[in-house]
Amino acid sequence: MSARAFRIERGGLAGACLALAALAALAAAPAFAGSANLGLLSQIFAYIALASLWNLLAGFSGLVSVGQQAYVGLGGYSLFALTMFGGLHPLVAALLSGVLAVILSFPVAALLFRLRGAYFAIGSWVMAEVFRLIAAQIKPLGGGSGASLPTIIVTGMASSRQAREFMIYWSSLALVALVLGLTIWLLRSRWGLALRAIHFNETAADSCGIEITRVKFVVYAVAAFGTALAGALIFLQKLRISPDAAFNVNDWTAFVIFMTVIGGIGRIEGPVIGAIIFFALRETLSDLGPLYLLMLGAVAIVAMLKAPKGVWGYLVDKTGFEFAPLERRIVYSLNEGNNPAAPDSKGDRP
C-alpha cells in the first residue's frame, strides 16, 4: 500500500520575512534613535526575551514557574563576579553566565520536578528566595546592599559612552533575536512536537513513547540559559546590582507573566505583543503613581475575561494569521495518481 503523493506545509514565510525586516530596521536604530530611546528599546528586548522564555515554560510545557528571577539574578551576579574577579569582557561573561545557569538548572530541576502544578510554582519561588539569600551572603559583591560595576570594567568595554550604549543595544537585540529564533526552532522541531503533545495531554504523550521528564529538563535548561543571559545584559545596562533588585519577583516574574498572559500565552507571538503593550502602558501612565498599577491590574482582568487567549490569540481567532505557525498540514499533490510511488521528498522528514 502506498500513500498518495503529498507534502507537508508549515507556512511562516511571510512572518519570517517580516521578522527579518524588523530586525534589520532595529539594528540600524542607533543611526537615528536617541540615547533614551535606545535604552528603552534595550529594556523592551530583554523583557520580550524573558516573557518568551516564561511562555516556553508555562505556555508550552506546563511548568508554571514563579521563580525565574532566580536565573535573572544569577545572570546578573555572575556577570559582576566574572568581570570583577575573572577579568572577563562583559559580553563573554554574559554568555558564561548562561552556561552557568544551565549547569545549575539541572540540580534545581531535579528538586522542583518532584512538585506539580501549584506546588511547583511555589517551590520555584522558594528556590529563587534561596538564591537571593545566598547572594546576600557574598561579601565581595557587597552582601545585602549590593555592588556597582567598577568604572574600569565599564570603560574597558568601550571608551565612549555612546559606543557602550550601542554595544548594549545591539547585544540586547541579539539576545531577543536569539531567544525568539531558538524558541521558534525548538517548537517547530521534533522536540516541539513532543512539547505540544505533553501540553495537550500528558497521559497520551506518555503512552505514545515520550519521556516527559527528559523533555521538561531540556526546556527548563534552555529557559535558564536565556533568562540568565537576559539578566546579565539587564544588569550590565543598570551597572548596579543588589539581591533585592536582582531576585525581584515583581520585576522579573510578575510583569513577565502579565505580558505573556495579555499578549497570548501558548503562542510564540504573544509575549512580543504583551511586552509592547506593557511598555506602552508604562510609558504613558507611570506618572500616575499607584493608579498606574491599579490600571495594569484592570487591564489584566479585562483581558482574562474578554480575551482569555490574549490579544494575539483573539486576533488569530479572527484572522487566522500567525507569524510562526507550528502546525504541520498535509497537502495532497494535484498530480496524484500519475506518480503515486514517488511522493514529494519533503514529505519524508517533518
Binding site: 512536537l193 503533545a197 497520551a204 503512552s207 504541520r328 517533518p350
Partner: protein, 248 residues
C-alpha cells in the same frame, strides 16, 4: 494465524493483583498471550478490564505480580518505555492531543513511539490515516472531532507507533452496524499483518468476529478463557455476563 515464535508468549502476567481500597480489581491474574494471537476480553462493568489494560500498558502499578513482554520483565517500566518496546493502546475515553491536527497526533506516536526512528514517519502516518478512513480529516484539530472520529483516531494513533501488541479498549462502542463491520474488517486486517491484539469490548458479536480467543473477567478474576464460541456458550458466563441463570 501466525505463531512464528512457537509457544513463547509475547505477553505474560503472573499473579498480578490490584485493589483500590476494598475493591479488588485484579485477583492473582495469570495470563499468557502468544505472539500473533487476537484475544478478546469481556466482563461486566467494574470487572477490572480497563485496569488490566492499565497494568499491561504501565499506567497502573500492580500491587503484586509480574508482567513480562517478549521475555523481559516490564513490571516497573513507564508507559513510554513500554510503547517503545512495541506496545500501543487506545484509551476507552479518547485522549487526543486536542490542539494538534489529526495528522500531528499520529506523527507524535510515529516519531516517539518506536524503538528505532522511522525514515519516513510522515508517509507512514498518511497511509495509516487512509487505512483508518481519517484522510479527509488530516488537517482538522483533534479537539473538533466527534466522539466516533476520536475513537478512530485512538486506533490510528496506536497503529502509528507500529506496535507488536495492540491494546484496544472499547473502540466499537456506539458505532452503527455498518461502521462496526468496517472496524472488524480493519482489526482483522491489522491482525493478519502479524500484530498481536488484546481487545476489550462490550459488543460481543463484533469481538467474536475478530478474535481467536476469549477471556471473561469478573470481580478481578478470570472466570472463563478459551475458544470464543464455547466460552460464550458456557453456563457460568451466561449467568454472570448475560444475566441468564445457570439452571434456566
Amino acid at each position: 494465524m501466525r505463531h512464528d515464535r512457537g509457544m513463547t508468549p509475547l505477553l505474560q502476567l503472573s499473579g498480578v493483583c490490584k485493589r483500590f481500597g476494598a475493591v479488588v480489581v485484579a485477583d492473582r491474574i495469570d495470563l499468557a498471550v502468544p505472539c500473533g494471537q487476537a484475544l478478546g476480553v469481556i466482563g461486566p462493568n467494574g470487572a477490572g478490564k480497563t485496569t488490566l489494560f492499565g497494568m499491561i500498558a504501565g499506567a497502573v502499578t500492580p500491587d503484586a505480580g509480574r508482567i513480562s513482554f517478549d521475555d523481559a520483565d516490564i513490571t516497573g517500566l513507564s508507559p513510554a518505555r513500554r510503547c517503545r518496546l512495541g506496545m500501543a493502546r487506545s484509551f476507552q475515553i479518547p485522549q487526543p492531543f486536542a490542539g494538534m491536527t489529526v495528522f500531528e497526533n499520529l506523527l507524535v506516536a510515529a516519531e516517539f513511539g518506536r524503538a528505532n526512528r522511522s525514515a519516513a514517519p510522515a508517509r507512514e502516518c498518511v497511509m495509516i490515516l487512509e487505512r483508518c478512513g481519517l484522510a479527509a480529516l488530516a488537517n482538522r484539530h483533534a479537539g473538533s472531532l466527534t466522539l466516533m472520529q476520536r475513537k478512530r483516531l485512538e486506533l490510528a494513533r496506536a497503529l502509528a507507533s507500529q506496535p507488536r501488541l495492540l491494546l484496544l479498549d472499547e473502540v466499537a462502542g456506539g458505532l452503527t452496524e455498518e461502521e462496526c463491520h468496517s472496524l472488524v474488517a480493519l482489526v482483522r486486517d491489522i491482525h493478519a499483518g502479524g500484530v498481536t491484539i488484546i481487545w476489550i469490548e462490550h459488543i460481543v458479536h463484533a469481538l467474536i468476529a475478530a478474535v481467536d480467543r476469549l477471556l471473561v473477567l469478573h470481580g478481578g478474576a478470570v472466570i472463563a478463557d478459551g475458544d470464543p464460541k464455547s466460552v460464550i456458550g458456557s453456563p457460568r458466563v451466561q449467568e454472570i455476563y448475560m444475566g441468564i441463570p445457570a439452571d434456566a
